[in-house]
Symmetry: C2
Subunit: 433 residues, 2 copies
């Protein structure tokens, strides 16, 4: 137990503080598991004079060069977030022979390939468990535990903010604006919630998950994205009636016929699907592989200590590599160019909610219009309303996205249709097999 492995920490916010705290509290167990001690030597902060919890014994600096040039430091934990300068700092550190542990989904989603190649070239580790699903082990399972599988599908609830909002909308019937305000007050949503509610955060995670699951280069641009801003309490009420819950899903599918299909959007999910019971700020990732069948990984998708748990798992892994004088055991260099499935060719069932004239024969006219576009219906609900208008809700069988778009265009032109109010995908686990 002589060796001490020294770490440079970039960023001392919520997660950084959690990392220092957990490392201190669980020091004994952690060092026993590595066969060496690890210590955070230097922390990069903006303001070296600010008082912070858990800062005793730490050297603070506002100059990255201090850490970069310190040959005692073998591991960099990057928790600054954002693309720049995090991306450049990590590259420079790897060039100096330092291994990287990061929670930075932006950099991994955008520059993943470059990072893996740089790590391989400079014989260091590049680890990023905390970039998806907070504390939930999902990157290691994909890189290691499920490696014998050809993975065909990954489906996850990977954004805690929107899952909290949808859960509240489902449980309390509140509307989007009210739950957003509540989420902001509780600190679950940021003042500018765009990245969360518009699905961008989930899309970055989807790109990372798809890349690892399918051994393919999937970038953020390859992900089709739709957020939760159009979801109303009425849609959620219909979902319940039909036996579904509404979730923001990150979905990645790979099939020899259709190629790789990666998307983030709200979806109706059957109530008995394992993901349907994942509520509040919890995250979960469901994986389907040709050997394992189905597996699911569930836990806290964010927060200081859960994320620190994931960061430190990576640090311990890197430290074990250092102790054993190896690196890149989980080498990610195996990435292929795979054909992408264009959005139009993706397939789902769909929920379509229409405002129509409340008169005899409308239901028939609607069903006929769907049928003429080659869309067959699974169920139709008609709800009478005031002012000579009624709402019709149709759930289709599985159909190509292009067809549903055509059908919606046709419906909009029908004289009896006042408005197509919403179109939401329905992910039926059974049909997806």
């Amino acid at each position: 137990m002589e060796k001490t492995i020294k770490i440079g920490l970039l960023g001392f916010g919520t997660v950084g503080t959690g990392v220092v705290r957990v490392l201190r509290e669980n020091k004994y167990e952690i060092s026993r598991k590595i066969g060496a001690r690890i210590m955070i030597k230097t922390v990069l902060v903006r303001d070296t004079h600010k008082k912070r919890p858990y800062m005793e014994g730490l050297q603070l600096t506002d100059n990255f060069q201090t850490i970069l040039e310190d040959n005692e430091i073998d591991i960099i934990i990057e928790l600054m977030g954002g693309l720049h300068p995090a991306h450049e700092y990590m590259l420079q550190a790897m060039e100096k022979g330092k291994s990287i542990v990061t929670a930075n989904k932006d950099v991994v989603a955008q520059f993943g390939q470059e990072m893996f190649e740089t790590a391989s070239k400079h014989q260091v580790d590049f680890m990023f468990e905390a970039s998806v699903g907070g504390g939930i082990p999902i990157i290691t399972p994909l890189r290691q535990c499920l490696t014998a599988n050809r993975i065909t599908e990954v489906m996850g609830i990977v954004n805690g903010t929107t899952n909290y909002m949808l859960t509240k909308m489902t449980q309390c019937g509140s509307d989007y604006t009210a739950v957003l305000k509540e989420a902001q007050e509780k600190g679950y949503a940021e003042a500018n919630p765009a990245a969360d509610v518009e699905g961008l955060d989930a899309a970055r995670k989807a790109a990372i998950l798809a890349s690892l699951a399918f051994n393919a280069h999937i970038g953020l641009d390859d992900v089709s994205v739709e957020g939760i801003t159009r979801i109303t309490p009425v849609d959620i009420e219909y979902a319940k009636e039909l036996g579904y819950v509404v979730k923001l899903l990150a979905i990645a599918k790979d099939s020899p016929e259709k190629g790789v299909d990666v998307r983030v959007h709200p979806a109706f999910l059957p109530k008995n699907h394992p993901l349907a019971a994942v509520n509040d700020v919890f995250n979960a990732i469901f994986v389907r592989g040709n050997a394992i069948g189905e597996a699911m990984f569930y836990g806290r998708g964010a927060g200081s200590l859960p994320t620190a748990s994931a960061v430190l798992a990576d640090v311990i892994d890197v430290a074990r590599d250092i102790v054993n004088d190896t690196f890149g055991r989980l080498d990610c260099a195996y990435f292929e160019k795979k054909r992408l499935c264009p959005l139009e060719a993706t397939e789902s069932a769909y929920y379509v909610r229409l405002l129509v004239a409340d008169q005899p024969g409308v239901l028939g006219a609607i069903a006929t219009a769907f049928g003429e576009q080659g869309v067959s219906l699974n169920s139709v609900i008609q709800t009478r309303k005031v002012d000579h208008k009624a709402e019709i809700v149709a759930v289709t069988h599985t159909v190509r996205h292009a067809k549903i778009e055509q059908a919606v265009q046709t419906l909009q032109k029908l004289p009896v249709v006042t408005e197509v109010r919403n179109v939401i995908r329905v992910e039926n686990a059974q049909e997806a097999v």
Copy 2:
């Protein structure tokens, strides 16, 4: 991609066939992920003349020495099951410098420490992901992904047979004998179902999980075990009424005050607990740690291909170690002697079902008897029945096991109590925090 790593397979049953099949079907992906080819060279079987699926290209032998003495073979996959001769074969193989991948919960639970020490001494890997939870990654998460945590609790549904039976009893109201027969017909339960229904299979897995989670030597004898044979449709009906489901749980808790408490027994679990929705032959393991909070791992707990997925994940890991010329990265040598919590000192809430005289004042007499033994009640249900008898169901607050035993003894002596019909633990997630 020159190197080929050769494997000896011991046992060619359901899982062995699955391993050969998955290795064949996913050969390309697997070899890319290792940076070397792997192939099964020789298979140990009882009858070398028997025709089997997927046997083309494999060398069969009925003599273990053939594999043991083959210096080309670097990895042994042990799928014979049972303690002997699997235990001896694995020891001999490690002494010859061969790494081990096993699904053998009996050997890991009983001889785990010896196996780890032998592996360490001979500089080989000893891997056993498939010994718990079939395809579900849980051993690697405990040895690697959650290593930064001090784990305080592991709670799992780790036996598919009994979970299938309890699910059917819950969904269809069938009784124990009928569902056992059905499970046997479907091949989910063996002709002699004792190991499953009496909790022994789960107890072995509990010992393995507790050892890894708490870095402690926990043997099978340290686990208190109770099976599902006493569970009746009536208990399941009351559970529903009270907001619970009945599951056979493997529970391991570690606290500085009470020590390590490991047990297998049926329990009432709140309907909203993540484990409550784990049905049929699925397994799941719920983990609580001081950094991650709660996490859960869910999937198929048995079956040819899921178990093969776990076996091959280990094989790939060992192969990566061979390629990188390292071993024992996840060295388990860190095991401590920890104080065990005696059964009497364990704490739960309890469900107690009594047959009593149907006369005024009985409820009061029962409640008083509980109170005099220091057991406070959370809720009481009284159901009137024929023949001047009624059933009373009491659910207690959290209490020491010793106290509930005393209370039951006292109740049995009360003149108004005809019979104490069942006592089942209630695991309240909230109180367990």
